[in-house]
């Protein structure tokens, strides 16, 4: 949970959540008023589609995926049993969020592998 809080505290981030491969929320630290369930399901679906496409195209396995929209960005990172999702405003320091997310994903993998596995 601390990892998600740290991620949510990055400037420009609206919140962070850990979603399972099935689209169900494992952990979430989203700002109030956000439909976390729907967001988790959509993020999981999107990540699965990207993974499938890359596999079919023989472009390897997806690591971090950044989806840019008009009013914000969605960061998706594989953490083993689930997908770390971070929602941020548009125009934020994408590079900084990317670095924090990479570090947070590494920590979550370790936690997931230790606790779940």
């Amino acid at each position: 949970m601390n990892i998600l809080e740290e991620m949510s505290n990055v400037s420009g981030c609206k919140g962070a959540m850990l979603v399972g491969r099935d689209g169900l929320i494992i952990l979430q630290n989203m700002s109030t008023g956000t439909d976390a369930k729907a967001l988790g399901a959509l993020a999981s679906t999107m990540y699965r589609d990207v993974e499938k496409a890359l596999s079919e195209a023989r472009l390897g396995n997806p690591g971090m995926t950044i989806v840019e929209a008009v009013d914000g960005q969605v960061f998706l990172v594989d953490v083993g049993e689930g997908v770390l999702v971070v929602v941020a405003d548009r125009g934020v320091n994408t590079g900084m969020i990317r670095l924090r997310l990479r570090e947070g994903a590494r920590q979550l993998r370790e936690v997931m592998a230790r606790d779940v596995g």
């Binding site: 999107m46 496409a53 390897g60 997806p62 690591g63 950044i66 009013d71 914000g72 929602v87």
Partner: protein, 541 residues
Amino acid sequence: MKSRRPKDKDVKLYSENMANDPDSLAFVPLAELYRDNGMVDQAIQMCLQGLQRHPENAQARILLAACLADSGKIKDAQRHLKGVLQLVPNNKKAKAVLKELMETGKIGNLSDGESSEIPRPSQPAPKREEPALVDQEEDLLDFDDLFGDDEGESKGAAAEKMESTLLDDLKMELGDGGGTEERSSQEDEEDEEDDGIDFDSLLGLEEPQEQERLDTVEKAMEEDEEEIDLDSLPDWADEAMPEEKTPAKEDDYDFSFLDDMEDDSPEDKLEILADLNGQDADVILDQTEEDLDFLGDLDLGEEKEEKEKEEEILEEEGTEEDLDFLGDLDLGEEKEEKEKEEEILEEEGTEEDLDFLGDLDLGEEKEEKEKEEEILEEEGTEEDLDFLGDLDLGEEEEEKEKRPFIGEQETHEAEMLPTELMTSEDGLDAILCSLTTPDEVMGAMVVGSDGFVVASKLKQDMDLEKMAALLASIIETADRSTQRMKLGGFRGILVETDTGTIHLANRQGITLVVLSDTEARLGLIRIRMHNALDSLRQYLY
């Protein structure tokens, strides 16, 4: 007055010549024959016709003036004489005829056009057979300001004196059955003595004493065939020196234009000739290219030939723009080319026109071009060159200014900005090339929202159609998701894989995909994709 027919043989000869060659100058002797035989109207007509084709022919114009004077059209005669003198200030013949007119007092009785016609006492005013042509002559330059109209007061008295003068002339012309020879000998005599006569001094003659003075002058001419001694003239001759003693009369006969004639430019002379002939200067120029020597410095025909030669040389060697290709020649050939050009320039003396060739340094240009091509291969666009800072664009612009013609093609290649590429057929490929130039980029492609490939440039074999369809599927999902997340429309995706990075950027249904390795500079690629999308939008829409 007994009118003699011109010699049939000569008339036939000249007429045949004129018929065979309308541009022939035979009209001059033919008109002279007519005039010598009293057929003044035919002479005028012949002169007018000939001057239409040879407006520069001073001899014909003087003859026309003489004929007009014969027929009483003194003012028209003066116009033509003045025109000749404006063009050729030292024309002795024109001066002689003008002097004759002044001696006979004809120009002293001018008021306006029609009233200047003084019927010959022994010959009725000839009926004009070609009114149109004569009217045209009357519509020519108005020299009233030069010859003054304020002498109408003595018109009556002068007319009487004119009759007697003309009678004397006729006697001189027709006397002893040798009128023609007599006249010609008199003209020759006057021509010989023209230098000896102070031409301007005769301009100040006062009309009441005109006949007396004329008689005296003629007497002096008869006595001294070599030169008239003006000192021998009576006291009134001194008074006839307007520049010294009778300035008041200068207004009556303003021949100051003779002083300025030498300064007239050839173009001015041409304008005078055009005005005199009632034609455009261009028409006269075309008609008389071969006869323009008398105009002095004006030799536009030669200038035209030079221009044609220059054009031929340029065609042989290619246009100025084509000189770009000279950069590919060996320096030996290039040197020969340059020497050849210099020789041609020296021959034609037209270095000014081809100065720009002298400023070219094709060797440097070749180096510059090669350098730019190398950089373009590496970076793709000039924008990229700016980024790397390898090329000093300021120097390049200066060089382009120095090489205005050669620079055009080079500029077109060097400034291959995406917006300019929109005009070329390979625009899409060029845009993709600009994206895939760095080694860290493995390929780029443009995919439509329908999943079809628009364009692609990949460095490794891939199933383009499959990849395009999969990417379109990702885009569709991402767009739907972002919409439902209330994040607005989808704009792009950055997917990092264990083998590299996939960049997708979407705008107005066009998706640009760039594949790069793991070490790629993501920020640079994103900027280029942003610019490329702008270019694609302009190209495709």
